[in-house]
Every structure is written in structure tokens, then in C-alpha cells.
Amino acid sequence: MSAFSYLSRNIIEFLATQGITSATPIQEKAIPVIMNEKQNALLLSPTGSGKTEAALLPLLNRLQEMKSQRELFGFYILYITPLRALNRDVFKRIEDMCGHLGLTVSVRHGDTTQYERRKQALKPPNLLITTPETLQAILPGKRLRYHLRTVFAVVVDEVHELADSKRGTQLCLGLERLEHLVDAPIQRVGLSATVGNTGEVARLLGGSNRIVKTVWAGYDSRKMALRVEMPTPNQHHKKLARKLLYPPHSTARLDRIVDLVSTHESTIIFTNTRSFAEILGAKMMAIKPPYEFDVHHGSLSKDVRISAEERLKDGVSKAIIATSSLELGIDIGQADLVIQYSSPREVSRALQRTGRAGHGIGRTAEGVILATANLDDVTESGVILRRALMNKVERAKIPLMPWDVLCHQICGFLLDMQEIEHSELLRVFSRAFPYYSLKPENLSRVLDFMVEKKLASLENGKVTKNKRTRVFYYEHLSTIPDVRKVNALDIVTRSSIGVLDEDYVTQSVETGSVFVIRGRPWQVISIEEEEVLCAPVTDIDTETPRWIGEMIPVPFEVAAEVAKVWNAIAERNENESKELLRREYKLSDEAQNHVIENVKKALSELGLLASEESFIIEDFLTGIVLHAPLGTKTNETLGLVIAALLTTRMGVDIAVERDPYRILFTSSVRIEPEHVADVLKDYNGEQASTILRKTVRTTQNFTSRFIHVGRRMGIIRRDAKVREIPVKRLIKAYDGSPVFDEAMREVLDEKLDEKRVIDIFEKGSSGKLEISIVRTERPSHFARLIVEEKTRFEVIGEISDEEEILAMMEDRLLAKRFRLVCMAKGDWDSTRTVSTMEDVVECPVCGSRMIAVLPPTDREFTKIVAKQVAGKHLTKSEEKKYRAGGLMATLVSDYGKRALLVLAGRGIGATTAARILKPGLTDRHSLLREIAKAEREYARTRPFWGD
């Protein structure tokens, strides 16, 4: 019996007019389940498989039946989605059907007009499509609260998105409050595309004591054609690279993208950060491709984003370069190709993104991961792809017992109820899964805090609202980190260029910083309270833009499998390895060769390879690399603990850098590898945990979290500027409070991985962890991936080849022309290009090395030197020029051509050049890096020089 046979004739007729005559797999399974009013359900099915209809058809069927029996007045079904854009999308699809059935539907979120809101209060739509935050807003509302009393079902879309954050926790409590209001069970239906721990997510939806049936369908029929490519540059790319001022490997990838877009109808290109989406857009614009395309990310205005979405859908543009802004199911038509630029880092991200291609039943999703020429990136891409094909998705990390959400929701409940018994509060809230183990003493502690902050009053076990309750509740509706947005404005027109996060502005942006937005480079001229004023940079040869985005963490499971792949290659011959990489990990030939070559090299240098059970401590004399493939969070945590212990042991500061596969330790003194091994063996898990918690307090991460939690719990005003908050004092004052505890929990659970590190130290201290020490003369191929990462330029978002960038800069410096004037006898004055000079620079006439370096247009200096040589009197300004020339001449005399190279750097005068040259940097690499640093410094401070 088909699922559609459960539905009314009216509905079936309507579906037929839309050309829908049979149910999709998820609809077949879910409709009969949901028809049972008492059954809660979690529907798991790929994107575009008809989940929305699977949930709504049976519910609208029921509503239609109710309508035939009595007049409807109030909200009956709530459809909650995490994104406003999704609200729009769902609305369009459902509106027609509801209209046909004589039912009303409306959307309500932050952007809904006052007019529309009033209309909803007076004539409530039967089905309300909304966001979790808006539900919070209307729950205590006078009128709307009444209309909510008739709700019999709630559909929560993209549950996995909400589950992973406090939005989900807040929604849970919101649903408990709703059910308390309705005073009857509400049917809960969750829709999710990809979840690793379905049991927990089902409990999140249903609460700790309700049964939720999990319905899976459609994963087999979803065909995916995925592969990993690693474009390498040929001559054409190298030539183009010089023209675009873009590294050759990056150019090869760009060229491949253009090629792929040109041979497909509609392509989505995903990047991992906004900054890189902008850079790629800028470079693609520069290459003038034979198609239209757009850039799409969260910092662009709503209009720009909607326009980009429609252009792709209508076929006006062929490609869209996007970030996670396009991951969720916004309907942009049928993209037939998804390109992921460099490793997507997480399986769920890979699935969500590749799922945007072939958005429809029975279509094959084509996806290509374009890996960078970096061993980690290529292998990781292959591993993620394999896990994606097997649907091995990461678990949603549900925040448990977050105090800030509880505090906020207690306020909400007080607005709902006016007053409530302590025991009733505990009973209602502990029904929500994240608070299932909430104890009376925990609740009391939070209430005490709230009473102190005048958010509530407590007397004889009764909790009542206070003067501040309402204001606090409405000011803190959103759990999304209260990141203030700062406008970037064009300094001339004062029009908005885009929006930056406050955190980013305070940590990374300074006057002179250059960043790219909407395909154009802008330089920061000044930073004001609410605004960053910028001017367009016309010189396209800008230093690589800085816009530091958060790198997506690589999960432990992925990192561990990457290490398994490397170990597998170590044990096989070339042909077997190639077969493995091709068959299991879908790597192209170039990618296979790159991986095999690098793994074999590393093996010959280290003798063995690391794994999750077996670490290698590599001592390359100027530093230590701990090879440990444990993922981003574990390595971040492990690095913190080991560095803290080493610092205590050695009495000097230890610097730490980490990536998902290894941790780098450096210091001003030599670190013995045995010390690192000892640290791993001498401390047990509990001790490691204590040290971790002590150390975390001093980190920027914790400070940042504390500010966010502080804002959410009302101890820091929302509009307080980060720069003005006395954070250290506040942290000390609130030590031991729910605010402190929550900030610590956030860091330990969400940013770090305390549990796994405890486990590592337990194994280490009981001899169950294999640790090998290897000494190398210089960093191994694996170690170089982090040693060079440490000094790479800040092209965050793309792991690029520093060597390429330095070479390009060197070309520019060598092409610089100077007027060289001999200061000994003034008998030589010549304009020369740096590249044509010998290492030793001397006057061809008298052999003197005292050669002054001047701009080619300066004809005055020679005259000044002639005057000086002739013993004539110099004016004050001539004397000043002469002395300056003398300084430069000294540098040229001491350092020769190297001095010319340094002086060719933008804004680098004699003093800066002397500073750069003094340490006697012998290698070209270090010298170029110092020059680049000085150029950046100049750009930062240039506005103050008043040119």
C-alpha cells in the first residue's frame, strides 16, 4: 500500500497537479509513521529527497480533517528551520498546497515586517514557518502565546545543524516550555540529512523521556561520482601565474576550475573561508573566464546573496563561489557539479556540499575535491571522500548542561508563568535531553547567580520574575556568539563595503591591513568605534591579504585514517599503493604519485611512521616535532599540556604550533626529545586534566569564550567593546561562578578534546603508548609541513607554497632600478637594475665600495658629492642628504648586492635596511622573509607618514 493512500483525496489531487504521483523512499516510510499522532520521528535522508513533504503531508492531512470539524483559530503546526533563507524556500513550496487545502501559512523571523507580525497576531496562520530564535520571542508574547496553545505538531528542519550548538539546546528547552503551555503532548518531527549519532539527536528532539522513531531512507539510491584531483602547473600555468601575480600551483587549480565550469551547466565552488572565496573570485575575474559567476558568503548583504542565488538558478551565471553559506538546502536549482577547493576537513561538510549537486531524486551528484599540492591536504581529501561514500559522518557534539542557556530559559519560563516552584522548574527542564541529569543543587546555583544579577527573585522555593527579567530575555534571544558586527565603509563615499566580525577586527585588523571583499582589494585607513574606513587599493600587486578565518577542525577519526593510509603505503610497493589510492580513495594519478613519493621520502628519513597508538618525537636540532595524527582539537589540547609541562620543567617559554597530524615545539633553548617523552610518561590522566584547566585560563581562546558567555549571562553589556573590557579582572572575580564554569566547559568540550588527552596520558603513564625518538639533521618531509607552515605568509584558507610567493617578490626586487653614485670621489653615477649587479658592488672607476643608492630620478646627489669632494660648503639640507647617502653607502660597502635587494623593498630606508641586514642572514629565504615583513610594516604605518 503506497504511503499516499493514507492521505486525503484533496491532497493527492493537488500533488498530481504538480506532477507528483508517487512517494519518494523517505515519504513511503515516514508518512505512515507520522500519521500516528502519538509518534515522534526523526527522518534521515539525503538532501533533495522530499523530507519536508514527508513531514508536512501527514500533518496537513490531520489539520485538514480538524478544519472539517470546527473552525480553526491559532497556530497548529510550527515548522522550525535554522536559516531565514530556508524559511523563504519552504514557504514557497508549501504556500500553494496550503492554499489548495484552504489552510493558511505564514513566515515569521527577525526580518518580518511589523505589518505582517500584526496580521499574524490578529489572524494567526494555521502553519507558521519560523526560526528557533523567533519561537523564543513569541513564547512569552501576550497574544501569540494564546495562539500557540493549539499547536499539535512541531517540525524541526536541519536538526543536525542545530544539534551541534547551543541553538539546539535552547530550542529543546523552548519546546518543553511550549508543551507546558499547550498542556498536552506535541508531536515532534525532525528532519536531518547527515548525523553520526542518531540516537542522541533523536533524544535531543524528543526529550529524555519520549520515544522518537528513527526513519532512514534514500541513501542507497543516492548516486555520487566523487574524485580527488591535484592539478600541477605546466608552462602555460607558470606564464599565467606571473601575469596574475598568483602562485603557479594556485593558477593550475584556477585553470582547472575554469575548465570544469565551462564543461558543466551549473557549478558550485566551495571554499573553506570567506577570505579565500574573495581571493578566488578576484583571480577568476582577472582571468576573464567565458562565463558569468558570483561570490556568496555571510559577510555580503542579503540582497547581494539573493541576487547570486537567483542568477545561478535562472542560468544567468554558470558558477557561484561560496562558503558554508550555501551548504544548507536553499534551492538554487540543479547544480550539476560541486567543486570543493582543498580538503573539506569534515565528512559531514563534504556530504552537505557534494549533496548540492544533482539536487533531485535519481540524479547523480558529481563532486571534485581539488586538493592543494600538500601531502596532508591530498590524503585528507581522499579519506574524507571515502568516509563520505560510506556515510561515516562525524557525531554531532551536543552541548550538555550549558548554564547560559539555562539562565536565559529560566527567564523565559518566568515570563511565561510569572512564578514557578523550584521543583516544577527542575521537572520541566530536566525533560530536555541536555539537562537530563540536572540536579537540584545545579539549578540552585544558577538561580543564586540570577538572583544576584537581579534576573529573578527567590523566596520559599518559589521563583518569580524581576524588573530585569524581560529586558534580559529579549536582549539575549540568540545563542549565536554575540559577535558584534563592524561595518567596513568606503572612506570616500561612506557606503558599506561589507561586514566584519568584531573579534577579527580587534585581533587582526590594523590601519594599513589589506583585505579583499567582493573581488576587490581594500586597505584599512582607520578603525573607529563601529566602523572600519577603507580605501580601494589600485596596485594589484598587494601583499597577500590577511583575513584570518577560523580553520575548520579535522576530526580525530579522519586524522587517524590518514595515518593508516600512510602506513599502508609504507608497507606496499608502488603499484599496490597506487591501486589502493585509486580504488579506495579515488585519487587521480598525479595525486597518487604525490602521496606515494612523499610518504616514501618521509619513511626513509624517519624509519617509521606515526599512528594514533604510536607517536614519533622528531628532533631536528632547532626544534621538536611530535608526530601524532589525532586531529585538530586533540593536538591543540595535547600541545597545550605538553608545552605547559615542558615550560615548568625547563624554566623557559615553549612555543607551540599544531596541525591535525603533528605538534611543533620550539624555544630559545634546546629541547631534548627525551623531555617530551618523559612528560608523556610521567603524568597520568587526572594530572594532565588539572594542568590543562590551569593552562586554559591563560589562553586567548578562554578569554574570548569568557567574553561571549559573559555577554550572554548579563555580566558584560552586549554593546561593550572588547578593547574596553577589563577581562582579566572579570575572570578573577567570577572564578567559580556559572559564567566561569560555562566558559571553561565551552573551551574544553568544543574547542579542545580533554577526554582524549586524558586517555593519552593514562596510556602513556601505564606504558601502553609507543613513543619513538628520531634525530634528523633537518626537518623530515612530514615535519616540514608544519615547520614551513609556521613561517608561511598569511594566505589563510589556502595552504600555499611560500617559496612561490617569495620568488615572486624577489623578481620584483631584482627588477628595481637605482641610481648608484660613488661617494669616494663622485666619479661614477649610473642607473642600474639590481639583477645586473655583482655580489660585491664597487665603483668601476676607483674601486670604492662606498656607493650611495638613490631613486633614478635624483640628479641632485651627484652635485652634492662633487661639492663635498671639492671641499665646498654644503647647505643644511645638502648636508642632511649627504649623511643619508653615506648611511646607505656603508650598507652597500658591508653587504653588497644584498643591501640593494633590501633597499628595493617598498618603504625600506637605510635604518630599516640596517636592521634587516645586521644579523647576517645568510640564506636567501630568511632575508626575503624579513624584507616582506618590513614591507608589511610600512603598509601598516604608511598613512601616518602623510604622503
Partner: protein, 78 residues
Amino acid sequence: MMSSDDLFLRAFENSAGHMANLDSVRSIVEGLIGHGHSLEYIIQSLEREMEEAEVTLRTDLRILINEARHLVRRMTSA
């Protein structure tokens, strides 16, 4: 068995918190109770009031009617 007046007053108390024009509704309610009218009569009177009322008052009255009918349903099903 609850009288119509009692039931109607209960409905008013339950829904008063959701009213935008509480005073106006209260005076309408006071005008309708104490005359021994049936609940159906009271509801019809309210519906007549709705015809001429301003839009927010109309919604208030609708809420009140709804609540009264809801209470009746609960009583009859109990």
C-alpha cells in the same frame, strides 16, 4: 454543573492575559453576565460586537469566544 455565567467568566479569566483591550472586553463581559443568558446567546452577542469592532478588539473577542467553546468541549468530553 457550571452555570453559563461561571463558564463565561472562567473563559474570560483564562484569556484576559492575552487581551490587547482588556478594559473594553471587561465592560462587554460585565454587560452580558447576571441576566441568566445561555452560553450560546452570550457567544452570539459577542459575535455581533465583533462586526463593528476595531480589528484588535475583534481578535480579543475571538479569543474569548474560542476559550469559551474550548471549555465547553472539555466539559462535555469529561
